[in-house]
Symmetry: C2
Subunit: 417 residues, 2 copies
């Protein structure tokens, strides 16, 4: 089963909007056993849409269309659809009623515009829009299914997941696609490959493994197609997942797709009823931001001190003037004192400290841009490490935060055993 995606919108063609709808539709389709043959973005014009429908229909059984619906663009898209499917626009009373009641609630009375919005190609089967006013439409022509959806992402996503894909899956008797994930940190793509090369080489037919790296962490995705015995397929995929995990054991932090290290660390702290605080210099509050982005983080996160200046490292974290002047702010001695000072001052069970030169300025021959000290600890022990990162400020900040969270995860686990 093959699909294509047609996105309608001048804002995509002039580069103002990045087309994220297509990636969403593609991902959901692939997860349902539908391959994507092509993605086509065309202009909000009659000819653009008509030609787009011809191109998108060429190599596909299903054509997903987004955009071109809504108050200002509606006419052209619906007229193009009506002509392409050799049908006519008709006033639809129930659609009109729905639009009227939606806008009345918002104090808006545009009867004429609403009447226009309620003109629907007569051969369309309507798809409910639970998040807005523009209805979805489904057409069938020469055995191909054409689905027109609004371009507003949350409306489109809800419609696709709740109405469109379930119907296609049941009609077309699609195979089930199973995915299992391994979220890893502190190990690179090629190092993982070396450790699991033999497992990958002997994957059963129809099962694939993808390496998806992001900011120093690697997501592994195992995929298989289930035709008959789904319990057996799940068990088989789980066995492979577990075999791979054992090879890179200490690097695996979750089996949930896209779970963040901040969430993983938070769950560990909740389980152990422990608390955390951070002392940040070059990361400037970014680690604290990642931790507090997790709902419920107030249960374990008490606070953070961003100490950018020497003065504040002394005043807020109790780093000694002598240490700063002898070894500098980016040194093992300072990072140790920052961590101990933080734990003493804030009294949390665990602490993270970071001090480095994020760049682009501030480097010296001894300590070039990208030199970053990271420490994690509790009242008994502080572990500090030095990293040589890049000359990109934003990247250095973000990767340092991931390294720090992973160091804390390992520290908590080591202290557990």
């Amino acid at each position: 089963m093959k699909a294509s995606i047609l996105t309608i919108g001048d804002e995509i063609l002039n580069g103002t909007t990045i087309d994220t709808n297509s990636a969403y539709i593609a991902k959901q389709s692939v997860a349902n056993g539908i391959a994507i043959a092509g993605i086509y973005s065309i202009s909000d014009s009659y000819n653009g849409i008509y030609e787009g429908l011809e191109i998108a229909g060429k190599n596909a059984d299903i054509i997903f269309i987004t955009g071109g619906l809504g108050p200002t663009k509606d006419d052209i898209t619906k007229q193009a659809l009506a002509n392409f499917f050799k049908t006519e626009l008709c006033f639809n009373a129930s659609v009109f009623e729905k639009i009227e009641s939606y806008f009345k609630k918002r104090g808006n009375k545009q009867v004429e515009l609403n009447r226009k919005l309620a003109m629907i190609p007569s051969s369309a089967e309507l798809i409910p829009n639970d998040k807005g006013t523009a209805m979805g439409m489904r057409f069938v022509q020469h055995d191909k299914i054409y689905i027109s959806m609004p371009g507003v992402p949350n409306e489109m996503r809800y419609m696709l997941s709740n109405y469109i894909l379930p119907k296609i899956a049941s009609e077309k008797n699609l195979p089930t696609i199973l995915n299992k994930y391994i979220m890893s940190a502190g190990i690179g793509e090629s190092a993982i490959y070396e450790k699991i090369e033999d497992i990958e080489a002997s994957l059963p037919p129809g099962t694939t493994l993808a390496y998806l790296p992001n900011l120093g962490n690697v997501k592994l995705r195992l995929t298989t197609t289930v035709n008959e015995d789904s319990a057996k397929a799940i068990a088989n995929l789980s066995a492979i997942q577990s075999e791979i995990s054992q090879r890179i054991a200490q690097h695996v932090y979750s089996f949930n797709e896209n779970e963040s290290l901040a969430k993983c660390v938070g769950d560990l702290l909740i389980k152990k009823k422990m608390t955390l605080s951070t002392a940040e210099s070059c990361t400037g509050g970014y680690i604290s931001h990642l931790i507090t982005s997790i709902p419920g983080s107030s249960a374990y996160f008490e606070g953070a001190i961003t100490a950018y200046s020497y003065d504040f490292k002394e005043k807020l974290l109790g780093v000694s003037n002598k240490t700063l002047n002898t070894y500098g702010a980016v040194s093992e001695e300072t990072i140790q004192e920052m961590t101990r000072g933080l734990l003493k001052k804030l009294g949390t069970n665990y602490g993270i400290a970071v001090s480095g030169i994020a760049g682009p300025g501030g480097g010296t021959p001894d300590k070039p841009v990208g030199t970053v000290w990271i420490a994690v600890g509790n009242k008994n022990e502080v572990k500090a490490k030095c990293f040589s990162l890049t000359n990109q400020r934003e990247y250095n900040i973000k990767i340092s935060a991931q390294i720090a969270l992973n160091m804390l995860r390992n520290f908590i686990l080591e202290n557990e055993s």
Copy 2:
């Protein structure tokens, strides 16, 4: 002059990668007076590429192609290009030398692979790649220009801006497109529209105005096409920019495209030789992160305290126990004490404080999720305001940070006069 964009890559078709290259190419093309007729994403396969070239060439004078180059995918793409342009793959000695020296520096000796990478369709004019090994290629067929670029974003961007677009602009004698920007904060799209409706209605022919909102701030973009007298066109556009700015004067923070509020506040502080610190509760260090993301921020930013718990608001910021227990952490009394405590403790010239309920949990009937107090001040005065935001945690954190930075900007400017 019309162009189309063809992106090659299975990772786009299965939804793993969002196609950001197309938006970049589209934006740069439009800025050079080239309209985009369509964007097409197709698979890493011979047939996909060959058909893609046919479709993309249909309504366009220029066809930008990205992806499909590089060690693993190279063969198929180059073979498809060679056949499409009725030419042959030939070994290119100078390309081979370049690749050899690139990989030798990295201790990598794959002579056979390098020979394959150096096979180039013989009718291609090569385009230098200053950021990597895969060369760009330019073909001309039936008066249409086809440009093949690597898919790695920084390689493609450098090549496009430094070699490809300048050459097309000079060959095709393209009109110059002029843009002027107004970055505004603290005012919505429709409020701006009401204030400048008459200016917009009387824009000269060929001049357009776009409203581009992002996280509470609105970027205004004025665009005009210059055919002859460019000095006059610049003067005319500047006059309109200045007329619009006067109508929304206190909301305009920059005329530089995409300048952030954090950068604008930083520049103000540098100019006045003043310092800043922040006290954050619900924003959890995000404001501190935005400020310290600006290179050179250590000149004015001293530090930040994220005080998540009651205890830490007392211990680190000196908020009184009585205030917290009487009014709660999310109250005017607490935010006032947080700001004064911060300024006293850290001794900076200015301070920002935020305390609120980011959600999804923690709301009460009196103080529902989305209630956020924000204050800015110096030793003489603290200004505090309460906002009713949404039930989306991430959005609340990000919009609060923008509001706080804009409040500080206004506060600094008011104190100046």
